[in-house]
């Protein structure tokens, strides 16, 4: 269904010179499960879609100054001069659909996915449009939730102070056939943005949403509206654009001297080799994979408060941690780890990254095949967890390096803090890369955590144990360690 409205043809060769190129907000929408709906009731679905277009979609597009460029039956492309109007139009349509679906059984719902991008478009003589600006809108739409609206970073920058909405950052995503990752935000619509349209339909939709939010319609969010600017910015902290990898920046030898010294993480070189990753006893750890892990370098300890605060002082990280300088930094989201890594790479001229799941597990096993790296029985002094023995403080993790290192000389590989890795979360290893590379395809709204924390029971400290958590959300037991390729 998504595929039917794109990929778009490339611009006609030679026509580039006289084609009209302009900046526009492009809205791409499609009907979720179109084929299924048509399969169940073709005539009924078509009639309902027509009615929805006539009563809701077309008038709303017109009201907001949009121009329908392409209609494919199950999807549409609409051009707006203003990103604010494009998003407002999408909200009204989505909330109108919510109201229409409310009285129907789930299987009869008609839902739209919407993506909005601000970019250069090219219009040819037939009125068709082309360009990356259009392709990105279509990709944003393809990864939107049913009933949801995804917008690009460019749209977000234009509307964040103008529309009273929440915006949830989904991070920077690679988009098919587009070279640079695109920052993506999800619009969390609220009442006030609809009220602002001052139209009877808007008010009706608003009333319907008020009721629906009360009974928690899936995928929509609602909170009392106040302090719009502050809300918009706190709800979605701006994601710094990815810096060029440190390796490509020319290193001016003399000018670097003035840089203040930083607490660069201590690293251990690992030679890699054959590894068994996974465990057949746990559904999420199956199937077991044998692979060759290439040599890499891994942090000897989790990143500490002192190391993190260098980044915060340089404004590379968004908060200052207040616990002991030698404690592992905690309460970091996966997105926060990327801020630190960007800053550290730039500050040191080395390309840091998170380890992959497979690298982390290989390193945590340290060549052993027992339940934990130290054996099959618990004993004191090897790890920091609930039930691992002294020293133990239920309120906070111990300082890094207080427990025995594993056979590879790595500390705190299990217990202490849960450690973010580079992989997006997947429920098991079916379809995982055959090598030790990070698995970065699929739903990256959550990422994998390894090792368990000081609050975990010992079972979560097994080298193969996997956990996952929302990419953008902070939690008190979450930390990380950094890696580099050889």
């Amino acid at each position: 269904m998504v595929g039917e409205i794109h990929p778009f043809r490339p611009p006609p060769p030679g026509g580039r010179g006289e084609s009209k190129r302009r900046l526009a907000a492009v809205l791409a929408a499609d009907v979720v499960g179109y084929s299924r709906l048509m399969g169940v009731d073709e005539e009924g679905t078509l009639a309902r879609l027509k009615r929805i277009r006539r009563e809701l979609v077309d008038p709303t597009i017109a009201e907001h100054g949009g121009r329908l460029i392409k209609n494919t039956g199950d999807g549409a492309l609409v051009e707006f001069e203003s990103p604010v109007e494009a998003v407002r139009c999408a909200i009204v349509v989505q909330q109108g659909m919510l109201a229409r679906n409310a009285s129907l059984p789930r299987e009869d719902w008609i839902q739209f996915r919407v993506g909005i991008n601000l970019g250069d478009i090219i219009i040819d003589d037939d009125g068709d449009i082309y360009g990356d600006g259009v392709n990105i809108a279509a990709r944003l739409e393809a990864i939107a939730e049913p009933g949801g609206i995804n917008i690009s970073g460019g749209v977000y920058e234009q509307i964040k102070n103008k529309l009273v909405c929440g915006y949830q950052s989904l991070g920077d995503r690679k988009v098919k056939n587009i070279t640079d990752p695109v920052p993506i935000y999800r619009v969390l619509a609220d009442l006030a943005s609809v009220r602002k349209s001052h139209r009877p339909r808007g008010m009706l939709a608003a009333a319907a949403v008020a009721v629906l939010c009360g009974i928690a319609a899936a995928g929509w969010y609602f909170w009392p509206a106040h302090a719009p600017q502050q809300e918009a910015t706190t709800a979605a902290p701006a994601i710094p654009t990815p810096s060029p990898p440190a390796i490509s920046t020319p290193s001016p030898p003399a000018a670097e001297v003035a840089k203040p010294a930083i607490h660069e993480p201590e690293m251990v070189a690992l030679k890699g080799g054959q590894a068994v990753i996974g465990n057949n006893d746990e559904a999420s750890e199956r199937p077991v994979r044998r692979m060759t892990v290439a040599p890499f370098v891994l942090g000897k300890y989790p990143v500490t408060v002192a190391q993190w605060n260098d980044c915060a002082a340089a404004k590379g990280c968004s908060f200052t941690a207040s616990s002991d300088p030698d404690a592992p930094v905690t309460n970091v989201s996966w997105n926060d780890t990327q801020d630190y890594i960007r800053w550290l790479s730039r500050a040191t001229n080395r390309t840091y990254r998170l380890p992959s799941e497979a690298e982390w597990e290989y390193a945590a096993r340290g060549g052993t095949d027992t339940k934990w790296w130290w054996g099959n029985q618990l004993k004191p002094g090897v790890a920091n967890c609930k039930g691992c023995g002294e020293p133990y403080d239920p309120r906070q993790p111990e300082k890094v390096g207080r427990f025995l290192p594993n056979p590879l000389g790595l500390y705190d590989m299990g217990g202490g803090v849960d450690q973010w890795v580079a992989d997006c979360s997947h429920k098991d290893y079916r379809g995982a890369p055959a090598d030790a590379a990070a698995w970065t395809e699929g739903d990256c709204s959550s990422h994998v955590l390894r090792g368990g924390s000081w609050k975990s029971d010992p079972g979560y400290l097994r080298p193969s144990s996997r956990d996952q958590y929302d990419t953008s959300v902070r939690y008190v037991t979450h930390g990380f360690r950094v890696a580099r390729s050889y």
Binding site: I215, A216, Y469, Y475
Partner: protein, 141 residues
């Protein structure tokens, strides 16, 4: 008792502006419940759980807007809730800090309990705690 009331009243004024550690007030009429599954329902895994909330709003963890929080799903949890501590995060305590209002979980055949707990910006239960009824379901093969 009086001093505790005073403390709550003053924190209610400050909370919309900044996140504070400790209990965040919730309106008494707030109600948290399962839209699905139903209490006592027999069903197959994976189980779709949809979360209902009345009298409060759902927001992203980390955001401290008044009268809003995010969902946590407790699966087969028998220990009593510690109302002052961060809600644990493990296989029995699932977090929905991005503001999700539904999920699919895989459960082994047999009886299970499910309960929703609303958490504040720092994943700590509200004061008073906003909890759903603990429902029982039976997963069949």
């Amino acid at each position: 008792m009086i001093s505790r009331r005073l403390l709550l009243a003053s924190s209610a004024l400050v909370l919309p502006l900044r996140a504070l550690a400790g209990p965040t007030p919730a309106p008494k009429e707030a109600s948290l419940y399962f839209i699905a599954p139903r209490d006592g329902q027999k069903l197959k895994s994976p189980v779709t759980c949809r979360f209902g909330l009345r009298g409060m709003g759902v927001t992203h963890a980390g955001d401290s807007y008044a009268n809003s929080g995010h969902h946590h799903l407790f699966i087969d949890v028998s220990e009593p809730l510690d109302p002052d501590d961060t809600i644990p995060s493990d296989r029995n305590h699932l977090h929905f800090g991005a503001g999700q209002t539904e999920t699919q979980i895989e459960l082994a055949p047999g009886p299970h309990t499910l309960q929703l707990v609303l958490g504040d910006a720092n994943h700590v239960p509200f004061n008073p705690p906003v909890l759903s009824k603990k429902i029982k379901i039976i997963v069949v093969k």
